[in-house]
């Protein structure tokens, strides 16, 4: 049954390629998105029963990530028709095909039970998203695409080598094909430690490049800055989630092999470095889309930091994946709307957005506050608990650095965001015909609403799934009971 989640979007992509009417093609996106989400919800009920020898199948971890991606895709897909209608000059055949293709490949990645399959899915994801980055077809977007592709390809090549190393580690330990994750984890004790470590390092660098961990993230601001907001949202919440999934699957093998200390030290380092690097570029950032890109780097840092700290933080890192994806979609899409309205994404030109596009600007502001940890939005729950776990489980320095960096980032980000949102629109700036409509804002409101709900209440089945996913990642059987187990 699981294959249908992959086949449906791919079939839709093929259809999109064949359909010639732009409006019909545009409507294919939400239709596929919602269908995919519904199917996913049905299939997810069986996450407990993935056959151990299968090549494809949704376990809790994959299900959780795919659910995030599917919801995110739905939000973007519902936003897409109105956005594409605003840009009639662009043919969106390739665009639609790429979007749908991405969904199919993300499903493949989430369902992959084998590191090789996961790698293939990741690789192809890079390929199908490249045209999205090039959507604007100008020199700047070409440059962004070039950087995205070269860095992405180098990264993915390293990930392949890493995957091969892990396979060799298994080979050394006498574990032979097929190397499903669960087999790797069960037989983790037999894997060759040096090869496993080297493999982890290579996959970390490889998938880390795709995720955008500093200093491997350098393609990110360029790519996010030059694409439409909708692509930014999908890249920041979707592609990064895919890479993160591929990475933590390998981490899970490390953890099962008892090598997690080594891995976690590196992850904490990457997490803090990413946040610090993001901080440097967020202070005084005049381009609000690049600002969001650095914010994405920051939050990728938080994700790996959470995994690195371990314990309860692992669970909240996974939770943060969802929180970040939802809020980032709000931010990127509202930034896109503001960009549309001003025909600029740079600071001296874009001020007083609250007066031109009140809804989008309000959502942008709220999204900013949410992503920086305003309760009761979901990112607050994860950020607070990651900090609390760090401080109470002996990672005092990491916890303190985490909070200091959050403070600095807030300082930098708030400066730009407030300037964009408040004040008076500069009179010289030509006013484009763009106005906030229900179609361009409703998906954002839904996303923000979901982030709010998630901060207050996680439905029982989802919580069970999250717990199981956490157990998968760090190899422990039961999740630790924690302060924020119950949310008000």
């Amino acid at each position: 049954m699981a294959w249908i989640l992959i086949a449906l979007p791919l079939a839709a992509a093929a259809t999109a390629f064949l359909v010639s009417s732009p409006p019909v093609r545009a409507r294919l996106l939400p239709a596929t998105g919602i269908l995919h989400l519904l199917l996913l919800l049905v299939i997810l009920r069986g996450w407990r029963t993935v056959p151990s020898g299968a090549w494809l199948g949704l376990d809790a971890l994959g299900g959780w990530v795919l659910l995030v991606i599917s919801v995110l895709f739905c939000i973007c897909a519902f936003y897409a028709p109105s956005y594409l209608a605003l840009r009639p000059e662009r043919d969106h055949r390739i665009f639609s095909v790429s979007l749908l293709g991405f969904l199919g490949l993300a499903s493949l990645l989430a369902e992959a039970r084998h590191p090789g399959v996961a790698w293939v899915a990741m690789e192809t994801t890079t390929l199908v998203t490249a045209p999205l980055v090039y959507f604007n077809r100008n020199r700047r977007s070409l440059e962004a695409t070039w950087k995205y592709l070269v860095l992405g390809s180098v990264g993915i090549a390293l990930a392949l080598l890493g995957t091969l190393f892990i396979a060799y580690a298994a080979h050394m330990g006498g574990v032979e094909e097929p190397l499903q994750y669960n087999r790797l984890m069960q037989e983790a004790g037999r894997l060759s430690r040096p090869w496993l470590r080297a493999g982890f390092v290579l996959t970390l660098v490889g998938y880390g490049t795709k995720m955008g961990l500093a200093p491997l993230h350098t393609w990110k601001p360029d790519a996010y800055g030059e694409t439409p907001g909708i692509v930014g949202a999908l890249l920041a919440g979707g592609v990064t989630s895919c890479a993160f999934l591929a990475l933590i699957r390998i981490y899970a093998v490390m953890a099962a092999a008892g090598e997690d200390r080594f891995a976690r030290e590196i992850l904490v380092g990457f997490g803090l470095l990413s946040m610090a690097w993001a901080l440097v570029f967020m202070v005084g950032q005049v381009d609000f889309k690049r600002l969001l890109a650095y914010s994405s780097v920051e939050h990728m840092g938080i994700l790996v930091l959470g995994i690195g700290i371990g314990g309860a933080a692992t669970r909240f890192a996974l939770f943060h994946l969802a929180a970040n994806a939802l809020v980032k979609s709000v931010l990127f899409l509202s930034a896109g709307n503001i960009h549309r309205s001003y025909a600029s994404k740079q600071l001296p030109h874009v001020t007083g957005a609250i007066r031109r596009t009140p809804v989008s600007a309000g959502l942008f502001l709220l999204g900013f506050l949410a992503i920086t940890g305003l309760p009761p939005f979901a990112p607050f729950i994860s950020e607070f608990n990651i900090a609390a776990t760090a401080l109470t489980t002996g990672h005092v320095l990491a916890g303190a650095a985490f909070l200091l960096l959050l403070a600095g980032i807030f300082l930098g980000m708030s400066d730009t965001v407030l300037q964009v949102v408040f004040g008076t629109p500069s009179p010289q700036r030509v006013r484009t015909p763009y106005k906030d409509t229900a179609a361009t804002t409703a998906p954002l409101i839904v996303a923000l609403g979901l982030a709010l709900v998630l901060g207050l209440w996680l439905p029982g089945p989802l919580r069970a799934m999250l717990d199981s996913a956490t157990a998968t990642v760090d190899g422990t059987a039961a999740p630790t009971v924690h302060l924020a187990e119950v949310r008000p």
Binding site: V201, F281, L369, L418, L483
Partner: protein, 646 residues
């Protein structure tokens, strides 16, 4: 409890009907807020009168802590000013803000702020507390930004947002460390915790977090600009109750600690003295009425901290009387300051509303045309200077009593510092409010703006009147609040001491009331005797015989404060712009003095600018060259591989 919840709900939705009504939305909002205040205050009074504390917990209670919201005496005590001031502010807003564009949104957020404040005081779980805390902060931020077209407002809003968020992150850390103490972190902590490393961390972090909110020097950076920029009824609410939430936080923390180390109290005292003295000193140098009031909030937070410090010292030393007097003084001052500072901000708003300026040197003589506003401001000034027979005197009196008592406690006379600080604060505050009231309401109008004015509408005067009455009530009959105060103080006491002595036994409150009434009666009699009679003449001011006195010849606020400001220039570092006078017949010249904020303008701002420049120097690392980016990948890989091998 249900009354309280209803009040929170009403406050939260008070702005909603206005979104759909074409007119009268403000009236509805004010009405709902008033209703919320009545209900909530009734609930609070019931608890303060000895009723059982209300609780709201999740039915399943897997939380391990007794409730999410608990309306205990501490909560009830803080709830009083929250709701009273919210209601007064909402009503004041009717006339002050009216139906300008954005008024609906303003009311909506104002209601939300009131609701979050009311939620926060009763929060009994870290996450609920943080929810209320941040909700309050963001709502207040949006209100500060009400006039975001002004660059000054945007800057103020940004500074506020950054300061409050920094504080919140400290709170994250503090609650994080506390969470190791078990799920019920909002409950009494074990003995010995305070002296441990975690205890120290929690205290320092809480001090930072709550200090930012309360505006303790040197964490007060956001306070003067934000209070000046916000609409006045919002300033009143912020200065009156929002900054007190920092105090609430400290009070909660102290209430969980059975054995605070001695240095906690000492640090609180030190910070209190610093805030108090410097707060009032900087207030003296201000020209902007609302900034001046804002610095006085810093001063009063200092006084409150002095009280908390005294109480904490008493707790550490096992001295119940000191504990009772210190905490009672602090808590009563919390309420008092809300009342008179709310009153002062509202009357300052009334002035700004009528004249369109807050610059002291452009006002003057408003007392003639705005008699009620001027009387209200005078009452506020009277109270904030701690002069009898108003409420400010009572709380300061408790603190004096406490620190005099502490003199006998040990050979080392630390409390003489408290006495000196209180006395100095009192004298400077008096000078400052004489300056403020004199410059705004007395003498002659210095500009046209101050001349063509009229008294504010009744909707603005009534809230001021209510606050004046409240100030007078506490000042004249402190015995009425003493039992309630005893209950709140008891919640702060250490469980080891069987019970703290009642205030009525420590201070002769009825005698004080009698003297206060005597003073009033005497003044009334004398005043009646003096009031102008038909025989009396009305002439221009004599001015030593100068024939054409003009308004410009009046002593300005800056000149008035020049003495103390010059005396304190080593601390205030005023910037003086003065043209040199040349020749026998010099032309027109001007003199200006500014007192920049020591932390914001002299430290934080330059430091931020410097670090921003420093960070921008680091930006070369991402210069757009793909090979360099690839080099990073390579270097990362090599580093990790080497790390792995080594």
């Amino acid at each position: 409890m249900s009354l309280y919840l209803l009040a929170v709900l009403l406050a939260a939705v008070s702005g909603l009907p206005g979104l759909f009504l074409r007119r009268r939305g403000g009236g509805v909002a004010a009405g709902l807020m008033g209703l919320a205040a009545v209900l909530g205050i009734a609930a609070a009074l019931r608890v303060l009168a000895g009723g059982a504390a209300g609780r709201l917990g999740l039915p399943a209670a897997p939380l391990g802590s007794p409730g999410l919201l608990v309306l205990d005496p501490i909560a009830a005590w803080f709830l009083l000013p929250v709701l009273l001031l919210s209601a007064c502010g909402a009503m004041f807003g009717l006339g002050y803000w009216g139906e300008r564009p954005g008024a609906r949104l303003l009311r909506l957020v104002y209601g939300a702020l009131a609701a979050f404040l009311a939620l926060l005081v009763a929060a009994a779980h870290p996450l609920v507390f943080l929810l209320g805390w941040e909700g309050m902060a963001i709502a207040a931020f949006l209100l500060v930004m009400a006039e975001d077209r002004k660059a000054e407002t945007r800057r103020a809003g940004w500074i506020y947002l950054v300061a409050t968020h920094t504080g919140t992150l400290c709170l994250f850390a503090a609650f994080g460390v506390l969470s190791a103490q078990g799920a019920g972190a909002f409950a009494a902590l074990p003995r010995g915790f305070a002296a441990s490393g975690s205890g120290t961390a929690v205290f320092v972090l809480c001090l930072l977090a709550f200090g930012f909110k309360a505006g303790v020097m040197p964490l007060h950076v956001w306070l003067p600009p934000a209070h000046a920029a916000a609409p006045s009824h919002v300033s009143a609410l912020m200065s009156g109750v929002l900054i007190k939430m920092g105090i609430l936080g400290l009070v909660r923390l102290l209430s969980w600690i059975p054995d605070p180390p001695l240095w906690w109290g000492a640090l609180l005292l030190g910070l209190g003295a610093l805030s108090g003295v410097l707060g009032v000193a900087f207030a003296l140098g201000q020209h902007d009425l609302k900034r001046l009031l804002a610095y006085h909030s810093i001063e009063n937070i200092g006084i409150i901290l002095l009280g908390l410090g005294l109480g904490t010292m008493g707790k550490s030393l096992g001295h119940p009387i000191l504990q009772a007097l210190g905490f009672a003084g602090a808590l009563l001052h919390v309420l008092n300051h809300s009342l008179f500072k709310g009153l002062l901000f509202l009357s300052a708003g009334s002035v700004a509303h009528a004249t369109g300026t807050r610059d002291l040197d452009r006002l003057g003589g408003l007392g003639h045309r705005m008699p009620w506003t001027s009387a209200a401001f005078l009452a506020g000034a009277w109270a904030i200077c701690g002069l009898p027979p108003l409420n400010g005197f009572v709380s300061e009196w408790f603190l004096y009593l406490g620190s005099f008592r502490a003199l006998a406690l040990s050979r080392w006379p630390w409390s003489v510092g408290v006495l000196a600080a209180l006395a100095l604060i009192g004298a400077l505050a008096l000078a400052c409010f004489a300056k403020a009231f004199g410059a705004v309401f007395l003498g002659m109008a210095r500009t046209r703006a101050a001349e063509d004015i009229h008294e504010s509408p009744r909707s603005m005067l009534v809230p001021m009147g209510v606050l004046v009455l409240a100030c007078a009530l506490i000042g004249l009959a402190p015995a009425l609040v003493a039992p309630a105060l005893d209950r709140v103080v008891a919640a702060l006491g250490s469980p080891a001491v069987a019970g703290l002595p009642a205030l009525s036994g420590l201070a002769s409150l009825p005698l004080l009331s009698a003297l206060a009434l005597g003073l009033l009666g005497l003044a009334l009699l004398l005043g009646l005797w003096l009031r102008p009679r038909r025989r009396d003449a009305a002439l221009p001011t004599w001015d030593c015989g100068y024939a054409v006195p003009s308004a410009r010849m009046q002593y300005t606020a800056s000149s008035f404060a020049d003495g103390p400001v010059t005396g304190l220039r080593w601390a205030l570092l005023p910037r003086i712009h003065e043209a040199r006078v040349r020749g026998l017949f010099p032309g027109a010249t001007r003199y200006e003095s500014h007192v920049p904020d020591p932390v914001l303008d002299r430290a934080a701002d330059p430091a931020l600018r410097l670090s921003a420049r420093g960070l921008s120097l680091l930006r070369f690392v991402q210069g757009g060259h793909l090979p360099v980016y690839l080099l990073y990948v390579l270097l990362t890989l090599l580093t990790l591989l080497v790390w792995m091998v080594v």
